[in-house]
């Protein structure tokens, strides 16, 4: 049931890393909301805290203080098992460096998050084919990641992120490592996903992606300095 609450709410979010020399404050008192079905872009210079913010929103890192609420779940207080199930069901993550499992084929990389939810084998196989067709890699099913180009690996990562049809998609620098031509294909995928009802949050510098955004969060030295809608 849709309660009308935002998909993501961040309250006074702080993230501090302790190092030998002292502490480094990566996120400083960050507050924002992301509406359901919105396309949000987090931008800022390198080291501004974009990836850290994305990690905190995705539940793979915990805030030092403040609260992060995603689909009405306070992720900062949940245990690892809950967060794992939550990520599997609700969040699709696309990492900057693709991060495919090198021991699995393209089809297996896409299929295995579905196996964790114990979906029927036939459904898994059919959905894998649909997703790989969506990203234009239906002919690469049995290849291993090292047999693919960077752009192809990024597209497999998109297909994997969509495997369990999550309502939230977090994408970290999707075109950061790609050439212009390959980047266009990724932008096309993002554009097609925008038409779905998914909430999409992208950390990027890419102007072409910024143009797609409903909302921009501008980070500077860990602080949210601008929030354009």
């Amino acid at each position: 049931m849709d309660t009308g609450a935002p998909a993501i709410t961040a309250f006074d979010l702080c993230k501090i890393y302790r190092i030998e020399e002292g502490t480094v404050e990566i996120l400083k008192n960050v507050d924002f909301d992301v509406e359901k079905g919105g396309f949000t872009v987090i931008c800022g210079a390198s080291g501004a805290g974009k990836t850290t913010l994305l990690n905190v929103v995705g539940g793979i890192d915990k805030p030092t203080s403040g609260r992060i609420i995603v689909f009405e779940e306070d992720l900062g207080v949940r245990d690892e098992d809950f967060l794992a199930t939550f990520r599997c069901n609700k969040i699709g993550f696309v990492f900057q460096s693709y991060n495919l499992v090198s021991t699995l084929t393209v089809a297996e990389n896409v299929a295995f998050p579905m196996e964790w939810l114990r979906k029927p084998l036939k459904e898994i196989q059919e959905r894998t084919k649909i997703l790989l067709k969506l990203v234009g890699l239906e002919h690469r099913l049995e290849h291993f990641p090292h047999q693919l180009s960077g752009g192809e690996q990024q597209r497999v990562a998109f297909a994997r992120a969509l495997a369990n049809d999550p309502p939230l998609l977090l994408v970290d620098e999707p075109t950061g490592n790609l050439d212009a031509k390959t980047s266009l294909k990724i932008i096309e995928i993002l554009r097609s996903l925008q038409k779905s009802e998914k909430t999409i949050v992208v950390a990027t510098h890419d102007e072409r992606i910024l143009e797609l955004a409903d909302q921009r969060l501008v980070l500077e030295d860990g602080q949210l300095v601008d929030m354009n809608e």
């Binding site: 098992d81 199930t85 990520r87 021991t103 699995l104 196996e115």
Partner: protein
Amino acid sequence: MSETFFAINDLMRRKLQTGTVVIGLALCVASTLFLLLLGDRIGFHILSVTESVLTPNFAKVFSNFIVFAGFLTFLISTVIIAFMVYVMMAQRIRDIGLMKAIGCPNDLVFGYFMNELVIVAFAGCLLGVFLGLAMDYISINLSNTHPQSQSTVVNFWLALLTFVIYFVLSLIIGAKPVLDTAKVEPSKALSPAYIYGLAKESDFKGSARAGFTVKIAIRSLFRRKSATFRVILCLTAVFLLVTVAVAGGIIAEHTTGNWAERAVGKNLVLLGHRDMCDRYKLLLSRFYRSGESADFNYTDTKYLISDDLLNQMSLMSNVTIDQRLVLEGRIQEVFGYTVDPKLGTRPIGDDRESNSLVIGVEPQKTFSKWIVDGESLGNGESDEAMIGDLLAQKIFSAPLLEKLSYSGQTLKVVGVCLDPINNGNVVYIPLRTLQNAAEINKPNVLLIRIDPSADRLQVLNAIRSKINASTPDFELNELNQELSKAVSFLGNVWSMILLLPFSVLASASLCLIGYVVLSVDEQRQEFGILRAIGMKPNAVVKIVSTQNFMILLSSYAVGLCLGIIATLLVLIPEPLVTDLTIMEITGWLVVVYALIFVISLFPVLRFARKPILEMMRRP
């Protein structure tokens, strides 16, 4: 920075890994040293020193075990050292890349890491020597199996020899991985995709029907085939040794115990004069307790069993008797002939002499069922003799081709038997023959077997009342007590040998832990990804435990088969394998497998609890 300072600094920085290599090496050294000291005490000495404990054939079983286990321990140690240095260098590959990238020449890189190897090898070997000496000390003082005739002084030359051999061996074996890694191109060594000993581009798919956990596990194993092969080889040798020690040890314990039981007789009662009974028990204890004993006049008429008592015993229901005449005498070797295909018929034997126990038995009625090389008494021939294995070793060249002379009679040696009495320094001859030779027409010892269906206590009381009525100096003694002392002595010595695989097993566990650390390091980024996209921490443990299970199972299967073959075919003649033996062996081996499997999970249990971002970071 000097090479030594760099080496010490680097080793201190990796305390856990350095500790693992040092302890692993120390355990190998300790196992070998313990074996050598044990062999020095009971194994090898027993073959050359007569009049000691354990008869030669019993000792031979122990010696075979010690030599075989020693060979395997050395082999395993070699593989373990090679593997540990390989893991050590695999974890330093990025440092090497960095050093070379900033201009450090190959020979200096080699020097830095050889210095580390020298320090680790020295520390490991030294610690191993202390551990080995401690194990030896514990085995002497706590297990109560130490043959009393042997010295408790430690042979420090063996300790020095073990130290030197292992130190040199470590440097020789370890030099290759150090040299190999020192030669890796800096660009390759610094690449996050490069793992020393890993075939990153493996396209092995395996079964398409397996679950993803199994698929990832199997494919990772194949990708690390060099390391996987090394660890399987190492564990196979370890399981071979464990099987030989556990299965072989248990079978040998049961078998040797059974040999003793068959020779002495089970559930028997000894009847004789009080002094004679004491003497008989002392003779039985020679098997496990050496020492001088006072002269004893076996021919004294007071020891002889009267016809009246003999008749009474013969007529008792539920009782069977084995009459024996026990004497001591001078035995002389009488040469025989052997046929040599080239030289023709040749005499064999040197007319050697020795004092020995001489026992007359009724061949058809005796309770003893000896393990015999050749034939047992019992063909009704009066000029036959069967000798104990110690006597055979002392004064005979080829006993079954020779004869012996006793009290003017020449008797043909038909068999060499295993018998603990007088520690195998014994001759068995037909009772009538001995009585004629010694001119004594009565036995001086009766062995009595009571029908198991009868009330044993009642029968014993009936016998006692007959003895008290006629010959009050005579008494009854349960022989089971003496037998159990001999059997438990054998059991204790085997228990000491069973100690051996545990130190090697501990060393192999460290090896497996090293492999798991390497494997987790190599897969850490992927585990991080899997966790980030929704896999639970337990699934990481499941993947690594599947890998460990497969490695252990494959090495276990081969090691177990080879171990059983070696035990049954090579190490123990006429093995006694009962259902109980099989159950006992299975139980121990399952415990060993489960133990090493659980230990191997330690690194991954630690790793699986780490935060996802830490997992995804390159070490």
